[in-house]
Symmetry: C2
Subunit: 142 residues, 2 copies
DNA sequence: ATCTACATTATAATAATTCTAAACTATTGA
DNA sequence: TCAATAGTTTAGAATTATTATAATGTAGAT
């Protein structure tokens, strides 16, 4: 687990000032064994639990978006009401459990590389994302 | 192009009352050569342009959601700020042009069938959606 | 024609996100 | 070291998108 000075370095590298709020968010997001998925709401709860000082909601939004822009976070949009952020920023796909509203990472080996045959003139592919929606077997299909 | 009586039939079939607002919306959405993508905002504009009578915003939301639940429309979520509906409800994938914010259908032939090797116990796959984000070649990558 | 259940409407309420402007802080370089 | 300055945080207001409410209207059945 990296110590805070690593976060300071990392933030500097991408041109973000290592303010105490950003460092605290780095700790909450990256001082853990595994990558994970969260909503802004989740994150606000997590921060206020782990911190004695307050953090403004606006700061959480700003910082999440700053991190996203710099490639520290990736957004995964499920529908107009549910949007997650992923601390795993490498290219990978997801399962979404429609019963529990849980987002599950796909390993690289779970889905073959996707071959796009269509080419849109003058455009390059930025990303290819697969979302597999699953639900309990005995439940009516969405 | 189907005439309105077909819409009345269709609505009845899925258990929706063929009210004049729903029929009007069917006309706007399905009286066209090709399927297309729209946001709620787009739709409200289109309806108010094509109609002399007013339609309430609440009705547009209700009707779109009723249509979605009955399988007349499919939602495609791009990010937390952009959500489209698609009148093409068959299983297919999409390109999203990050420059123009345009959503483009993939033909079945554009992407090979996706083989999911992972199995989540007790869960069945409801859908598999691929979103390919593209952008102008000479632009910085998102 | 009348009844009943469902739909529509305008408006209010809610929720999520962004804006604002003042106070604050990290960095720069004198 | 210490101001200058450029970027950041903050609380709260503003905005936007969506849903709820309750009164009125309408389709379909009898």
């Amino acid at each position: 687990m990296p110590k805070n000075c690593n976060f300071i370095e990392k933030l500097r590298e991408v041109g973000l000032r290592p303010t105490k709020q950003r460092i605290k968010m780095c700790e909450v997001l990256y001082n853990r064994e595994k990558t994970f998925h969260f909503t802004i709401n989740d994150l606000v709860k997590m921060i206020s639990e782990k911190m004695n000082e307050k953090i403004s909601l606006a700061t959480v939004y700003n910082t999440v978006h700053a991190f996203e822009k710099k490639g520290y976070l990736k957004e995964i949009s499920i529908d107009s009401h549910k949007s997650y952020f992923d601390t795993n920023t490498s290219a990978h796909h997801h399962f979404f459990d429609e019963d529990t509203h849980e987002l599950i990472d796909c390993d690289e080996s779970d889905i073959d590389k996707i071959n796009i045959k269509k080419n849109i003139t003058g455009k390059k592919i930025n990303s290819v994302e697969v979302l597999v929606r699953v639900a309990s077997d005995n439940q009516t299909q969405k």
